[in-house]
């Protein structure tokens, strides 16, 4: 099976999944109390029954469920997810405004967690029972048990009151009006606490995972062979062992992308980070269903894309599965 065919198949499946999410979204919108006609009528300051019927006919709300679903899908594929009642803007525009901040936060946290976790795990595996190893165990217990939003709040107390070293709210300093490089530095400075909060949970998990799989891999025949042929200890660790030991981390990171986004919702709320998480929080409070469902759709699409990327990364690291499905 050629790689292109395989990627094509995966893409087709991704489109099917995206369509399924859209169908779910539409069904939920349909079940939600009140319909767009009521909202439009509300904005006009009330309407008679005839006018409501007219609005429904205009937007196709009087058509059967499946016909409406078809129209919804067609519009969605053209990049139209409806209007936000609350912000009075197209949902897609609203989301695209907020998406970069979320992507910045999620990817910084992901890189911090995977790289940091791997390094810590390898160090811990060199001396099982040693200090680093115990720290990894402790960190993974604490990281799992502490609610992520609470960790964020505790960091705000620490860095907002005790050692005021990092900014505790927002994406950049509005008063500074920084531009160019200092703008980038300002954002990076604001990014430290939210991305640490979000990433440290996963860092704890990945370090434990890396340590466990390193310990397992170090006992395999090919590692013994590598040592027997006189390879440098560092080469054994990094080229022979780590490349195999890192596979579970890649799988896990891919599988957990959805929960990473979930965590981002909480972290953004805590740090007033202007991304999709705060958007969904605001629109949930305002009962702005099109926006809430729009964010659900975009996040699901991000997860689907992340799964595709994970698949490719996995293939790059492990040549054995390259030509298998």
């Amino acid at each position: 099976m050629s790689l292109i065919w395989l990627i094509g198949k995966r893409l087709l499946y991704a489109v099917a999944l995206i369509t399924a999410v859209l169908v779910l979204n539409f069904s939920l919108l349909h079940l939600a109390p009140g319909d767009p006609a009521d909202v439009i009528a509300g904005e006009m300051g009330g309407a008679t029954a005839e006018l409501l019927a007219e609005i429904r006919a205009l937007y196709g709300l009087d058509k059967p469920f499946l016909v409406q679903l078809g129209m919804y899908l067609q519009r969605a594929y053209q990049g139209d997810l409806g209007m936000s009642f609350y912000y009075n803007l197209p949902v897609v525009d609203l989301i695209l405004q907020r998406l970069p901040a979320t992507i910045l936060l999620v990817f910084t946290a992901l890189i911090f967690a995977t790289v940091g976790g791997t390094v810590l795990g390898v160090l811990a595996a060199r001396k099982p029972g040693g200090f680093t190893s115990s720290m990894v165990t402790l960190l993974s217990l604490v990281g799992y048990a502490a609610p992520i939003f609470w960790t964020g709040l505790m960091l705000i107390i620490l860095f907002g009151v005790v050692i005021p070293f990092f900014p505790i709210s927002g994406l950049y300093n509005v008063a500074k009006m920084a531009t160019g490089l200092s703008w980038v530095v300002d954002i990076a400075h604001h990014l430290v606490l939210p991305s640490f909060t979000l990433g440290v949970v996963y860092l704890a998990l990945y370090s434990r995972l890396t340590r466990a799989s390193m310990l397992e891999v170090m006992q395999t025949d090919y590692v013994r062979t590598a040592r027997a042929k006189g390879a440098h200890e560092r080469t054994v660790y990094l080229r022979h062992a780590l490349r195999n030991a890192i596979l579970p981390v890649v799988t896990m990171a891919g599988l957990q992308f959805g929960s990473l986004i979930s965590g981002a919702v909480l972290v953004e709320t805590v740090f007033n980070w202007p991304g999709l998480g705060t958007l969904v929080f605001e629109s949930v409070i305002a009962r702005d269903y099109p926006t809430v469902l729009g964010v659900l759709f975009f996040s699901a699409t991000l997860v689907i894309a992340a799964n595709l990327v994970t698949d490719l990364v996995y293939r790059m690291i492990d040549p054995r599965i390259r030509l298998r499905d």
Binding site: I157, G258, L266, V280
Partner: protein, 293 residues
């Protein structure tokens, strides 16, 4: 005959659970976890009876620090409500919703995973596609959508958490069923002509239980965190005190009154820590060979 049997029985032949309990009992961390869970359960059950203060009632000056007044030992929140009363009453909602949600997660995951792993073919294909679909939706976001569209009651919160969390249990159950379904004793019971339902629930499931029990334990911890997250966001019943609600409503006063958000968070932390220590202990107890890690 019975007398002969009892004398020839070797001292090692005990109930299968006995060895596991032996390992569990000798692990200090597992026992610490168990003690934590028991303590918190006792607090949740008898706490509100021993300390009958309404957590919604204003009893003292707002934002009194812990230890500054005898009226409220752990201080008051931004409205002057008793934090200690909140912690005790809040334990109940947090634990009940967490346990219910975890039970639902396990039941849905178990049934779907068992059916997929036992029947394979078309059924497996369909159920796994459904599972993959649910895995694409970020769990907290999906639960937020469900709670918003239904109503913010404890029952809805528990069901929503269950509905979004089951896929990993389903996958684990399926892989255990795939491993066990072709073992000899399963083939033997097939050959003996018993009903399929009997093979699934009475023959395969009991043998798949150890990893499923470990995963179910961890599911309780995750569900408690999930409930806390939703209440923190204000997406739970506002008339029922819970630890997440206390943190969510107190967070605006974070820099002036650290105890309002810190104390309920410590309770959540200790509860989930207890659950996960027990989970790790069970894992070691069921897999003695893997203990080194």
């Amino acid at each position: 005959m019975a007398a002969v049997e009892s004398t020839t029985r070797s001292p090692r032949a005990r109930r299968p659970g006995a060895d596991a309990w032996e390992i569990f009992r000798n692990s200090p961390t597992a026992m610490l976890g168990l003690v934590l869970i028991l303590l918190i359960s006792v607090l949740a059950i008898i706490g509100p009876l021993a300390y009958p203060v309404d957590p919604f009632e204003i009893i003292w000056a707002p934002m009194s620090a812990p230890g500054t007044t005898e009226r409220a030992l752990l201080g008051t929140d931004y409205l002057g409500r008793d934090i200690l009363a909140g912690l005790l009453v809040g334990a109940k909602a947090t634990l009940i919703v967490g346990l219910t949600a975890a039970a639902l997660t396990v039941i849905i995951g178990l049934v779907i995973g068992a059916l997929a792993g036992f029947y394979l073919g078309m059924i497996d294909e369909i159920l796994m596609r459904v599972t993959e679909f649910f895995q694409v939706l970020p769990p907290l976001l999906f639960a937020m959508v469900l709670v918003t569209m239904l109503s913010p009651s404890l029952w809805v919160v528990a069901v929503s958490i269950g509905v979004v969390s089951w896929p990993s249990t389903a996958r684990l159950t399926r892989s255990e069923f795939l491993r066990i379904r072709n073992l000899e004793y399963v083939t033997a019971s097939r050959a003996s002509g018993v009903r399929q339902g009997y093979i699934i629930w009475q023959v395969i499931l009991p043998n798949a239980l150890p990893p499923l029990i470990v995963s179910a334990t961890l599911t309780i911890g995750t569900a408690i965190l999930f409930e806390a997250g939703l209440s923190f966001l204000g997406l739970s019943d506002p008339n029922v005190m819970s630890w997440g609600l206390m943190i969510g409503s107190g967070r605006e006063y974070l820099l002036d009154a650290w105890w309002i958000v810190t104390l309920p968070g410590v309770m959540i932390f200790l509860t989930v820590l207890g659950v996960s220590l027990v989970g790790d202990g069970l894992n070691d107890a069921f897999n003695p060979k893997l203990r080194r890690r």
